[in-house]
């Protein structure tokens, strides 16, 4: 059905909301990628099957939603309107939920979230600390709607911002975005309004609006969740952007490794086109804007703007110098605005609620909210969105619940391979663009990897180097040859083969790569190295000079042994060892056989009595135990 005018849109929204209100209750089953991997599809099916028979009785509908964010506890089920959150739901729990909670009105304590410190069970999802501290803008509808249900999205406010925008002049829209202070959520943090304005002022009849959905940082998945869970928010932002800059074509560049995002976006575009929100004469305004999807082939470098545009042109996705901005000469050398998925998702809300509303959140220079993927050694891994300026401590401890197994916190890596590691001393750092950059890291894609004391910082830097070595396109010398040589030096360091002067060589090469590389991939590639050198230089020295890994991670430098006085023969290490290097009977002393041991540390992590310790390999060798 085509919606011809703003009035017709309001009517349509009203009827969609009325239809929703008829439902007595809803079962929201998280069908984000994390929960699906944990079996959410079967849970949703079980609900649908059980409720279909009794739908008339309880008037409850099953809804397959996008990612709720609390991936650690999935599959997640939220019962509305009560807002009860059930975690780790199995298909076999479904009948009990229907009988006891939906029909009987009583909660099932076993399925409620248990607060780890107090042991208290929390009933409502808004009360769970993980959700309590969040403010969701870009992800405002995710988890509440079925991303494939157009009416559901409309009832929850989708395209409300677009209706407002089309009632304003493009200049007024630009000013609203300017007031909001929105900056690029892809990580670089360039002012969105300034970018739009340059493109609006650029000469040319044909202009492009692009969406960067090539999220490729290890540990980042916020763009994925937005595209999967609320694709209309992305479309809405792009149409508004097109109106503001005077473009009529939009392209979403999605990596092909995100199949569900491609499916949901494709469907959303079709729905929006059928409703007259995409295509000719949108809502009777006379404005035309079309959107299509282009699937990326999986090269990390194609997330870089100039490479992304080459890829869209059908050429090899390699960056080129950007002395002329894309807003003047971008895709096909025509004026182009490229924004990140999250940026586009913010735009609709900004137009809906006003720029001042958005600017009221955040810090002086970084306004609004920011989505993060919180992962690593943290209790509550998942997807979060919070106002800028929250401290790392609040994020990791209040929302994240602290370090896994209550181990000591060591560092948090932000910004993916282009970012850096922030140490414990800076835990009270308010998170915004400037503060993270000052700390030697960056906002980047919003990946946040928490690391505990069992993390070797040299090994971490090496991990990111290895990732980038594989992803460097190889066009320019500093990135191609520099990463290759840098990785070789790190391979030597973690294997105890470091040579005198290696640290200085690494620093010099880092500087050369930062200054000399063609694109941001190469320029920022040394960031993980530089930041770990800045805060954990002693670990580098230990690896290089003493051939020791202080965290006991680098296998070539570490060995494990069982302390006889503490071992109670519980047999846990025996079970944990993947190579059968441990022998011992239950209630007897266990022994690690060094000839078989691969120093993986599984026994150390499994031992309940801390009877296993690690020590530098050379110490054991000195004792004559080879």
């Amino acid at each position: 059905m085509r919606i011809e005018s703003p009035a017709a849109f309001a009517e349509f929204r009203k009827s969609a909301q009325a239809k929703l209100a008829q439902r007595r209750a809803e079962v929201l089953v998280c069908c984000g990628t994390g929960c699906l991997a944990n079996g959410a599809a079967a849970v949703a099916e079980a609900f649908a099957a059980t409720l279909d028979g009794s739908a008339t009785e309880v008037k409850t509908f099953t809804k397959r939603t996008g990612c709720h964010g609390f991936c650690e506890r999935g599959p997640l089920v939220v019962l509305r309107p009560a807002g009860i959150l059930y975690t780790k739901v199995k298909p076999r729990d479904v009948k009990e939920i229907v009988d006891k909670t939906l029909k009987g009105g009583t909660v099932i304590p076993r399925l409620l979230y248990k607060e780890p410190t107090s042991g208290q069970r929390i009933e409502h999802y808004q009360e769970v600390p993980f959700y309590k501290h969040q403010t969701r803008v870009a992800m405002r509808r995710i988890g509440h709607i079925d991303p494939t249900d157009f009416e559901d999205a409309i009832a929850h406010g989708a395209y409300g911002g677009l209706v407002k925008a089309l009632g304003m002049t493009p200049e007024e829209v630009l000013r609203e975005v300017e007031i909001s202070g929105l900056r690029g959520r892809g990580g670089a943090g360039f002012s969105t309004a300034r970018k739009w304005r340059s493109c609006r002022n650029a000469k040319g009849e044909r202009k492009f609006v692009l969406c960067n959905g090539d999220e490729g940082d290890p540990g980042a998945f916020k763009d994925r969740s937005i595209m999967e869970g609320d694709p209309h928010s992305v479309l809405e932002g792009m149409i508004i952007g097109g109106w503001a800059i005077g473009a009529h074509e939009g392209i979403i560049y999605v990596r092909d490794e995100y199949p569900l995002a491609v499916v949901n976006l494709t469907l959303a575009i079709q729905q929006a086109r059928d409703a007259g929100l995409v295509g000719q004469n949108i809502l009777g305004s006379g404005f035309a804007f079309d959107i299509r999807i282009s699937r990326g082939g999986g090269a990390f470098v194609c997330g870089e703007s100039s490479a992304l545009m080459r890829s869209l042109e059908g050429k090899v996705g390699e960056p080129r110098a950007k002395y002329v901005h894309a807003t003047d000469r971008g895709l096909y050398d025509l004026p182009t605005v490229l924004n990140n998925v999250e940026t586009w998702a913010d735009v609709g809300a900004i137009l809906e609620h006003g720029g001042a509303w958005f600017a009221a959140m955040g810090t002086t220079k970084s306004k609004g909210t920011k989505a993060f993927s919180l992962v690593g050694k943290v209790k509550n891994t998942g997807l979060i969105e919070l106002p800028m300026g929250m401290t790392l401590r609040q994020i990791i401890y209040d929302i994240g619940g602290g370090v896994l197994n209550d181990r000591p916190f060591k560092a948090v890596q932000t910004g993916g391979p282009s970012g850096g590691c922030v140490p414990e001393a800076l835990l009270d750092l308010p998170v915004d663009y400037e503060k993270l950059t000052e700390a030697g890291s960056m906002m980047g894609s919003g990946g946040m990897i928490v690391m505990d004391d069992r993390t070797c910082m040299v090994d971490v830097a090496r991990y990111f180097l290895k990732f980038l070595t594989e992803e460097s396109c190889g066009k320019c010398v500093p990135c191609r040859e520099g990463l290759h040589q840098m990785l070789a030096m790190f391979d030597d360091l973690v294997a105890g083969r470091g040579k005198p002067g290696d640290i200085e060589r690494i620093e010099r090469l880092s500087r050369g790569m930062q200054l000399g590389s063609l694109c941001e991939l190469g320029k920022s590639a040394p960031n993980p190295v530089i930041s770990t050198l800045r805060y954990f230089r002693d670990e580098y020295v230990a690896h290089l000079e003493r051939r020791e890994c202080p965290a006991g991670i680098c296998r070539d430098l570490t060995t494990y042994e069982i302390m006889p006085e503490t071992c109670d023969g519980c047999h846990a290490c025996f079970k944990a060892c993947p190579v059968e290097a441990i022998t011992g009977k239950v209630k007897e002393l266990h022994v690690i056989h060094q000839d078989k041991c691969i120093a993986c540390g599984a026994c150390y992590d499994a031992c309940p009595t801390q009877a296993i310790r690690f020590l530098p390999k050379h110490q054991l060798a000195a004792r004559g135990v080879a």
Binding site: A202, K475, V477, L509
Partner: protein, 269 residues
Amino acid sequence: MSIENSGKPVTLTIDGKPVQAHSGEFLLAVAQRAGITIPTLCHHPALEPYGGCRLCVVDVTEEGWDGWCKMVIACQFPVKEGIIAFTASERVIETRRVVLDLLLARCPDTPLIQRLAREYGIEKTSYVPNPNPTDCILCALCTRVCDHIGVSAIATVNRGIGREVAPPYHQPPPDCIGCLACAEICPTDYIPYTTSSTSRTIWGKSFEMLRCPTCGRAHITVEQARHFAGHGGVSEDYFTTCDACKRKQMAGTFQRLQGVLPAAAPPAR
């Protein structure tokens, strides 16, 4: 910065020296004209700038930037009024040194790289020398010239350190016309080929040669004549006579017209 490709006259400063140019011109060309040398490896005046070797890095600043410099590559940086460029600042030299040091590790036996590295004070690479030394510096001049003449028989393939120049699937390239432009433009003579009076081989593909009916020299491949005839809108026959003989014939025609030589039967084409 917006594009100012208007070509209006501008004045800029390179290494303290005022230089006239037109806005939008590339800094490298402007500097060269002013007699200032900036090293390059992947640059060729006949081809679009590429920006791969990073050897032509220079520092650029402007009035009001408070001394802050940004590092750019001269081959691709469009000049505008008032910019101040430093082609040999300390960090420019240091960046070039890192680049050459890395290239010397990749190509330890390549004379061109050895010479450039030595100019920057590097006798031996500080990195691990390539266990399989190559002369290919991946400047992509070969692939770009091949694209430029409309053939695109070869390309750079693979990513990162595995990048190389190759014909499709490492098979003799069907589109290659055997013109040798890639081999001729290669700054390190890395691309091997053989050519004789009857045939030519490059990239594993063999070509039949056309002989000049006048001097008998095998000067062009059949595919080359066909390709250029197709592009130039002339008949393939135009390419049978070699350039040298064509020049001689033309000179003769002029001389006869001027009465220096007696009229003769028109030369066979």
